[in-house]
Amino acid sequence: MITLAALATLLPFLAAFAGMLLGPWTSRLLGAAPPAAQAFGTADGAGRSGAGGPEAGELSKTSAEDTETPGTAGTSPEPEKTSAEAPTMPLPVSGPEPAAPARYAAGDSALRGLPRNGPALIACLPMAVATVLALIVAVAVWRHPGVRTGTLTLIPTGTIDIALGLRVDGLAALVALMVCGVALAVQLYSVAYMAEDRRYSSYAAFISLFTAAMLLVVYSGDLLVLYVGWEVMGVCSYFLIGHHWQERANSRAAVKAFLITRLGDVGFLIGIFVLGVGAGTFSIGGVLERLPDLPQGTVTAATLLLLAGVAGKSAQFPLHTWLPDAMAGPTPVSALIHAATMVAAGIYVVARLYAAFAASAAALTVLGVLAVISMLGSALAALAQDDLKRVLAYSTISQLACMAAGLAVGAPAAAIFHLVAHGAFKALLFLAAGSVIFVTGSGLLRRHGGLRRAMPVTFWAMTIGYAALVGLPPVSGFFSKDAIVGAAWHAAAHGERPAHLPGGVAWLICLALLATVAVTAAYATRAWLMTFFGEPRAAFPAREAPPLMTWPVAALAVPAALLGFFGLGAPELRPHPLSALLSLLAAAAGAVAVYLVWNRDPAADPAGGLGPLRRVFERGFYLDEVYAALVVRPVRAAARAVLAVDRRGIDAAVVGVAGRSRRAGGLLRRTQTGDVQTYLTGLLAGVVVIAVGVVVLL
């Protein structure tokens, strides 16, 4: 069992390196035609970074409002130059049917060309095998529940040894299966989505590496091994977000993501140390065993520090600002990293070490408060976004906050249930959004519209996804969200919560959850209506996405729809009537409100109804600006000061030594007058002195 889990982790890891080193060679080996000469980045600009570019362009606050690259509405198949800062003239809403962009042909032929596509095979085949292995492990754990651990070797460190080992239990097996499934879908999807990308092989390799790291986090039996996987995920996320690094905004977004999560990771690492040193071991099983013996202060300190890492990785307030900007990466990356896996890692760690968190009042309170702020704030922000991927990004923050709230009120099983369901439906939503962006050439909601008939598969899949997001029965979202809302209600009203959680916090969580459900329904309805209904707002050839993109989307729709029923076996995962009714009412209120506003003018954006608040929500309550003023500017000023000190102090000292030596030499030079008599005078005076010295001393 452990061996299978280890293999499942190892296969993507090896695939990553194989793909990085041997990708193009394998293609040639398989007989693929050499890639046509493509203008570096510009062909990408036509397709995917047309999705990445405008979104990234919107993120850099200096770009114009209309950031769509010209020509991607299909006016010409080979745009010669694209840029994120495009002219501000709007494209015609209606006009002659534009010609199909080159990316359509590439995407459609991706399936046919798959057997000769070396990097794709290196990426997809090991992933498929790993998924099968994860499935076997999950079934085995389901049939014979219990914890299995296995250690490869013990690394001696002088004080507390690090055990290179894995720990497979029900939680790990379930989450690993979800990770593998989503990763496989993303890999298949990317073959078509990134068909024209010149750097596809490195992209696929990084996705494989990322998957391996996430599996390491999930299966890890030792806190430091978990941290290794955690950090590798952070690095891969940086590389993947910055995949289209030709646009400056994309690499800036990648750096922002990396720095913010890194900031959290410092606290995370110190928390691991505190916990490990307190318990005398870093292995998760050992820590959980010795938990009752640890002093309260250690546990509180450790869990609060771990929460820093969780807040960073899982994009909770205040370390959440990286996630909307991270949409600059390709859409499959967003689906994998920012829906299902990396952001779920934080929640997963809390669930793994839940006994420690439940023992600390401060940790639970902090978690609850952060969750409340995140879920409401990001839901409101999602309501006002114009970019479809940013709506989904804020929605992710909000849903993660719901999971965190579930953890805070003492329902880890509900939280993990929602995590798995969210992984399925959010990945589904992102990939379907990618299909929409692929077809329309833009990520902005105000360029979509009327796609219901042109993209039927995508429409139905996305409808299921939105329904799961809102929590409508009978899709999985209903069950999982209701599990959390029910747990919160019971925690608040009936006091069935961890002993350390204050009652006020539980009520706060409960009310916030209900409000969030309403707002979630609102923004989901808005996005659904604006994308699929009404008339098209821009000119694009309306057709379904290529098959290699629609099949993974359709495949993900199945668990998104049916996963809820798998939870009926456990009592805490069954819907509770009162909480279910309350949340359905809230959802209905939100959805109906938005529908009414939309119905007045289907061509306009329903968010206009927010009035002056819209700007505030869209800017994420200006939190980025606050951080820029509070953190970025002082740090930059400090850096400039250090630079000035270095230049004027240290460099000047070093250069000044040279200058001073020169001057001293210049002074000495004055003795070389050229006057021989002066020389002789000096000489003879010296001789006399020496003679006197000799005579006197000897």
Binding site: G666, R669, Q672, T673, G674, D675, V676, Q677, T678, L680, T681, L684
Partner: protein, 128 residues
């Protein structure tokens, strides 16, 4: 006779010669002072020759040699002085300063190498 007499006279004569070499500006006067110094040395040589009653008369022979060399030297020295006078119309030794270190940075042409630029230009004419 006490040996101090010739020795002290020689020492004083030498010192006077030193003063003259270091203090006089005219080159001829400098040469005269050099002669004084050489004479002091000669006196010393003779005195010690007689003091030690050298059978080989090394001191006195050395004195003769010194005289000859001084004569040769002053012949050549005056030839040089005349050459300097021909070029610069003056023979003040402390105005002959071409040994001085130039205060301008290295790389500038220095006046004491008037023939160098042509040679250097001939060498660098290929690269320039």
């Amino acid at each position: 006779m006490h040996a101090a007499y010739p020795v002290v006279v020689a020492a004083l004569l030498f010192s006077v010669g030193v003063y003259g070499v270091l203090a006089r500006r005219n080159a001829i006067l400098v040469l005269m002072s050099v002669e004084l110094m050489l004479n002091a040395v000669n006196l010393n040589l003779v005195a010690f020759d007689v003091l030690w009653r050298d059978r080989l008369h090394g001191g006195q022979v050395m004195t003769l040699f010194t005289i000859v060399i001084a004569a040769a030297e002053i012949g050549l020295g005056l030839a040089i002085v005349l050459l300097v006078f021909r070029n610069r119309r003056m023979i003040e030794v402390d105005r002959l300063r071409t040994l001085t270190e130039q205060t301008a940075p290295a790389g500038e042409e220095t006046p004491q190498e008037p023939r160098r630029p042509a040679a250097a230009a001939a060498r660098e004419g290929d690269t320039a």
